[in-house]
């Protein structure tokens, strides 16, 4: 598997967040400093102490409208996570100017077997209404659940393809079918690091010669009772009933940061060999200059290790042939979870030293909520947009933060050549990616 050491670029960006489909909707909100967090509407969240989310109203996004007619029937077996991925992929393909099986009957821009697909996914939580409707048929008169009845009859009330809705690789499955991408396909399941690790894998797959381009990123929906409960179990969520100033609720890197909020969304980026992009007349958003991946060595899978974050960052910088002094902007996870924020700050301090407080950061979670497997793709998309626009969006959160430039701030124009995007994750995986401005 010889590696091609050629430049890898991001040639298309597709994003889906609580603001809707497309980077522009998210970007506009971030320029204006307008959060998308609000009280959950999809179900009554009153039973939870964290009742807010970055929620995309179901009426604002109908996956049936964006898939080819031939795939419309299959949307019935898409869970929300898959819908989000399919939506982001369609947006990415459009952004990159690619012709695929989904866009027209014309021959595809890139041969199907040269297009890979790496989509980070989460532990997809079953829809409790769907499962509950079947389970309740096996409820005995005394209120207990009758497993014998379930095995013999009750399970027949579940749709036959029920399981296929919830396999994590169904995000990539649907995307590869819709766009007829037949190259290597993988599903990374590493919580918040999933998207970044997917980008890393796409880059590696292209460099080893197994693809020319990949649909790459991640998506996840946490806005359902089971997924919300599972996040409650981590003790990471902020308490809120949705009243008050939502733009000040998630405060990354603040000394009194009190937790994060769930979200739904993600992004798909077109990761492409520069030679392929050039050959087809594409316009890269930015280059992927370096990647570093490390595993935390901690006493709990919920904690991040500053050393691992620093090591991942240093690896990415070395690959990018870039000194720490050349990084203009940092996009950390910035979740508002104090332990993770502290680990990120400590790790970044190891790399950037006294300069860290002078490097502006971009934090997305106060806008979108923590979209877990989709979060990194959102962060990378915003980073790519920042490079393209030579602008950093406004920051929400705390008024001040110690040791890192992450407090509330207005959007500003600035020269941006290199952006570092990093993410720790639940489970301990850390990923760092250096993006660069395309040089004329």
């Amino acid at each position: 598997m010889p590696e091609r050491q050629e430049q890898i670029v991001i040639s298309g960006v597709g994003v889906i967040t609580c603001f809707g489909v497309g980077i522009e909707l998210l970007w506009d909100a971030m320029i204006e400093g307008r959060t998308g967090l609000k009280r959950i509407e999809r179900f009554d969240p009153s039973g939870f102490s964290s009742q807010i989310a970055g929620e995309l109203p179901e009426d604002d996004f109908k996956v049936r409208k964006i898939v080819p007619k031939s795939h419309r029937k299959a949307t019935k077996v898409m869970c929300r996570d898959t819908e989000l991925a399919v939506g982001a992929a369609a947006d990415a393909v459009k952004s990159a100017g690619l012709t695929t099986a989904a866009t027209s009957d014309e021959p595809p821009t890139i041969a199907p077997d040269r297009v890979g697909c790496h989509i980070g996914a989460g532990l997809i939580s079953a829809e409790v209404n769907e499962l509950g409707a079947a389970l309740v048929t096996s409820k005995k008169e005394d209120g207990t659940f009758d497993l014998a009845h379930w095995g013999a009859e009750g399970m027949q009330n579940l749709t036959p393809l029920w399981l296929l809705k919830y396999l994590p690789n169904m995000l990539a499955c649907h995307v590869t079918i819709v766009h007829n991408s037949q190259g290597p396909s993988n599903t990374i399941t590493c919580c918040e690091a999933s998207s970044g690790l997917s980008i890393a894998e796409s880059r590696r797959v292209i460099r080893r010669g197994d693809a020319d381009a990949c649909l790459s990123g991640g998506a996840e929906d946490r806005v359902n009772p089971l997924a919300l409960y599972r996040q409650h179990c981590t003790g990471r969520l902020v308490d809120s009933d949705g009243s008050g100033d939502m733009s000040a609720l998630i405060t990354p890197f603040a000394n009194d940061a009190s937790g994060t909020a769930i979200g739904e969304g993600g992004g798909i980026l077109i990761v492409e060999a520069n030679s392929s992009c050039t050959k087809r007349g594409g316009s890269p958003w930015c280059t992927i200059d370096g990647v570093g991946c490390r595993q935390s060595f901690t006493n709990s899978p919920l904690d991040a290790d500053p050393g691992a974050l620093a090591s991942a960052t240093n690896k990415a910088l070395v690959e990018a042939n870039c000194d720490a002094s050349e990084i203009d902007v940092i996009v950390p996870l910035g979740s508002g979870i104090k332990q993770l924020d502290d680990a990120e700050r400590e790790g970044l301090t190891v790399v950037f030293g006294d300069r860290l407080p002078t490097i502006p950061t971009i934090t997305t979670i106060p806008y979108t909520g923590n979209c877990m497997a989709g979060n990194g793709a959102i962060a990378l998309s915003v980073a790519a947009k920042s490079i393209k626009e030579q602008q950093i969006p406004a920051r929400l959160g705390a008024t001040e933060t110690d040791g890192i430039d992450a407090g509330r701030y207005e959007s500003t124009q600035m020269r941006i050549n290199k952006v570092l995007v990093i993410s720790p994750s639940e489970g301990g995986q850390c990923v760092a990616i250096v993006l660069g401005k395309v040089q004329a």
Partner: protein, 436 residues
């Protein structure tokens, strides 16, 4: 190109919990399939499975307290990883750079507490609204669900446990591509090593879906065998009367190293991984492409990376001496896989032995590929091919050499291991006898 070798292997399977026992039982054509006793499945359409037995994960870790309460999939992973790590001798390697020792797993999710979830969902069901009362649901969830158990559901938790046990701090990935996951993990781990990002990668898979909701899901798909009368005869890959796969569970783990690193520390390479191919069917969510397009591409790509021409002969013999089939015992898989092998190997196809160990231990889902790769290495080492048991009534449409019912002596230098998953995931590895 950087050469990558296997220096350690371990597995926890329905046939046993160490290399020697499992291999011996496979070569004796034994079946581990039996009635499920982990929950009462007596009313389910399928009442049997390949279940791991006599296994205590605490015997495989230095300090059980470090791991809190790992989910069963993570327990299996810790058991298999211990065997692989110990065989590799890395525990004695004092100057191992842990930042260059990574991990790439194809691990499934933790075990869902069906008893608690069914109680919560049914008790919070609002009959009038025809849906869950979310407020009541939350209240019952807090009361009935084990919080840590829900955290352990995340598919990357096995990775955390194994990495923690050995201090691995290098590149870390978990993938979950259904039944193809661990083959894909191993292939990508090789790629990480070849890219120069690590010296050592612990890789493999772990999974159990042997719980009421897992069996429910596959029963509803009609993917599972319902041959309840004689469980040991239920998994019958390539048979005319094959009727679905049999659920298994377990873990397979391998220590992969660059050859340079392995030799520098005096390790003994067990075999060399020389090819990896991956493809997506991009066809339908429920069906394989009828021509075997995706599986053929994966096999072809893997052989191409290994610089092997599958249609060539060496002294009159095929260049591959064994194929560990995905061989699930479903009508569709076995038929399409056979077609794909014939497409790739051409006239050589009838002369390459193909077998499915799922006939003996069931389908280990995400872990299947790693266990099957270990089987390939065992074949190279011992000169034996594991059989496809229960092949008493061959499908006349399937005309390859499936090593029926009895293990066979064979000179094996090069093997292909196939894994194909729901969703059109196709992954193939090529492993060869190590030659300096």
């Amino acid at each position: 190109m950087t050469r990558v070798v296997i220096t350690g292997m371990g597995w926890i399977t329905p046939l046993g919990n160490n290399l020697e026992t499992v291999w011996k039982r496979m070569c004796n054509s034994e079946s581990a399939i039996a009635t499920i006793d982990r929950f009462d499945a007596s009313s389910f359409p399928t009442t049997f499975a390949g279940q791991v037995r006599d296994f205590d994960w605490k015997e495989y870790v230095k300090d059980a307290l470090v791991h809190n309460e790992p989910a069963m999939n993570s327990q299996f992973a810790l058991g298999a990883a211990r065997q692989a790590w110990d065989q590799s001798g890395l525990g004695e390697c004092k100057d191992l750079d842990l930042e260059r020792a990574g991990i790439y797993l194809g691990a499934g999710e933790g075990v869902l507490d069906f008893s608690a979830h069914s109680m919560i969902d049914t008790h919070s069901w609002d009959v009038e609204d025809g849906k869950i009362n979310a407020v009541a649901w939350a209240e019952f969830a807090r009361e009935k669900l084990d919080e840590w158990g829900e955290v352990e559901q995340e598919p990357n938790m096995s990775l955390w446990h194994v990495a923690k046990e050995y201090g691995l701090q290098g590149p870390a990935f978990n993938c979950l591509t259904a039944c193809a996951a661990s083959t894909q993990a191993i292939g990508e781990a090789v790629s990480v090593l070849q890219a120069g990002d690590a010296d050592v990668m612990l890789s493999g898979g772990t999974h159990t879906m042997l719980h009421a909701l897992g069996i429910t899901g596959f029963n509803r798909l009609t993917a599972l065998s319902t041959f309840n009368g004689d469980p040991k005869k239920a998994s019958k890959p390539f048979s005319k009367d094959r009727g679905g796969f049999v659920m298994g569970e377990g873990s397979g783990m391998l220590v992969l190293e660059t050859l340079e690193h392995a030799l520098a520390r005096g390790a003994t390479p067990l075999a060399e991984i020389v090819g990896f191919g991956s493809s997506a069917d991009a066809y339908r969510i429920t069906d394989l492409h009828p021509e075997g397009r995706g599986p053929a591409a994966a096999i072809r790509n893997a052989l191409s990376q290994a610089n092997i021409d599958p249609t060539a002969t060496i002294e009159g013999k095929p260049p591959v001496q064994y194929i560990s089939a995905h061989g699930t015992s479903t009508q569709e898989n076995d038929s399409i896989e056979t077609k794909a092998i014939k497409l790739v190997f051409g006239d050589n196809a009838p002369n390459v032995p193909v077998s499915s160990i799922k006939s003996m231990m069931g389908h280990l889902i995400a872990a299947a590929g790693s266990v099957e790769l270990i089987t390939c290495v065992m074949s190279i080492q011992t000169g034996m091919l594991a059989p496809t048991i229960n092949l008493d009534n061959p499908d006349p449409e399937l005309d390859l050499d499936y090593v029926p019912n009895v293990a066979r002596k064979a000179e094996v230098d090069c093997c292909v291991s196939n894994s194909f998953g729901f969703g059109g995931q196709n992954n193939t590895l090529v492993v060869r006898r190590y030659e300096p």
